[in-house]
């Protein structure tokens, strides 16, 4: 039996799945997409692979993070140790997501991957660093 709130690695994996599925979903309903395209993209939303408790605890951590970002501070003394560990797992998951999907330096839109040559949002050209 696993106590989900103590399994920081499982929580991190669930958060990465949440980020990836939200990323795909955010691109689905772009203007002008035909129903066929929407259906095809819906199939690209990665399925959830972990036990459901991990996602629910991940949602709690996202809520905590949103409070902190809005300046509604949760004093660290009020955080349970497992919440603090969970927030660190959230930080790791978000960093990994950002590394996989870098933001366009011109418009901020997250890219499909690190290897694109042009931002689909604003058309900015990306330059590769020369080795």
């Amino acid at each position: 039996m696993i106590d989900v709130w103590k399994d920081a690695e499982g929580v991190r994996m669930a958060l990465e799945e949440i980020f990836e599925s939200d990323f795909v979903r955010s691109r689905i309903h772009s203007e002008g997409a035909s129903p066929e395209t929407i259906e095809r993209m819906e199939r690209q939303v990665p399925p959830r692979t972990l036990a459901w408790g991990y996602y629910r605890f991940g949602e709690h951590l996202l809520h905590l993070e949103a409070l902190q970002q809005a300046g509604i501070g949760v004093a660290s003394v009020d955080l349970a140790a497992f919440e603090a560990e969970g927030l660190l797992a959230l930080h790791r998951a978000r960093s990994a997501f950002k590394a996989r999907h870098p933001a366009c330096t011109a418009c901020g839109e997250r890219q499909q991957n690190r290897f694109g040559r042009e931002c689909p949002g604003c058309g900015s050209k990306f330059q590769r660093k020369k080795a």
Binding site: M1, I2, D3, V4, W5, D7, G10, P47, R48, T49, L50, A51, W52, G53, Y54, R56, F57, E59, H60, H63, L64, L67, I72, V74, D78, A80, E83
Partner: protein, 244 residues
């Protein structure tokens, strides 16, 4: 007929079965017993091909709660030589299963109801309304009490966080990938928050009088506390109109 729930009085649940009435009396159910009931609920979720499949079973917990709370019952034929049901050893477990489950269903028959007043909501104070079955009246008829009012001070973000934290706690049985999630529930937290937030109630009495805050905290049924705070923390539905 009383229009208020008397919190200190024993509860009499009347079951009608094949044209006969059976009255089952319950002692006041203490918080400890209610928490044992909540802990006994098996609420699980499974991941089946990426889809969530929930299951819920409270029958064992309900039966346990009833057996722990029953004090007497009437209407049943007794064995020869017995003049009272108390004289029959193990009488609680001899009651028909359907009667025990019926009693349990009656005491957990609590639901959110629409506000019964037309006043706008006061800032800094929130009211929750419940409908509930409580006890049979002197005429032996079970009635539903409607619009039981619980007035709270507005919860803080810290209290909101405690609800979020405790309702997100779960255990996984059978491995992190293929396992079944067992939800631990936040009812104990909700009951504690009730005591922190409650200001006054309407529709309840203690010894025939409206209870003060201390009386509410001490005598309010824990199931009603949990149900009321659950409604308090549930998001209100925005009014959305379909475009023509």
């Amino acid at each position: 007929m009383s229009t208020s729930i008397e919190l200190k009085a024993p509860r009499i649940i009347v079951i009608e079965d094949r044209g006969k009435q059976y009255a089952l009396t319950l002692a006041r159910i203490p918080k400890k017993l209610w928490l044992r009931y909540f802990e006994g609920i098996l609420s699980t979720s499974e991941n089946q091909n990426g889809k969530r499949v929930d299951s819920f079973d409270s029958s064992a917990a309900r039966l346990d709660l009833v057996e722990q709370s029953l004090t007497t019952a009437s209407g049943y034929a007794l064995p020869d030589g017995k003049t009272s049901i108390d004289q029959v050893e193990g009488w609680k477990s001899m009651l028909p299963l359907s009667h025990r489950l019926g009693v349990a269903n009656a005491i957990i028959s609590v639901s959110a109801s629409e506000p019964s007043d037309d006043d706008p909501i006061s800032l800094g104070q929130e009211s929750v309304f419940l409908d509930a079955v409580w006890s049979a009246g002197d005429d032996g008829i079970m009635r539903k009490f409607k619009g039981l009012r619980h007035n709270f001070i507005s919860p803080t973000s810290e209290q909101q966080r405690r609800v979020s934290r405790d309702s997100s706690r779960s255990r996984v049985v059978g491995g992190s990938r293929n396992g079944k999630t067992q939800w631990l529930g936040a009812q104990a937290t909700l009951a504690d928050l009730y005591d922190e937030l409650i200001v006054s109630v309407e529709g309840y009495t203690v010894d025939g009088a409206a209870p003060d805050r201390e009386g509410i905290v001490e005598f309010m049924d824990t199931y009603h506390k949990v149900a009321a705070v659950d409604v308090l923390f549930a998001p209100a539905a925005p009014k959305v109109e379909e475009e023509a």
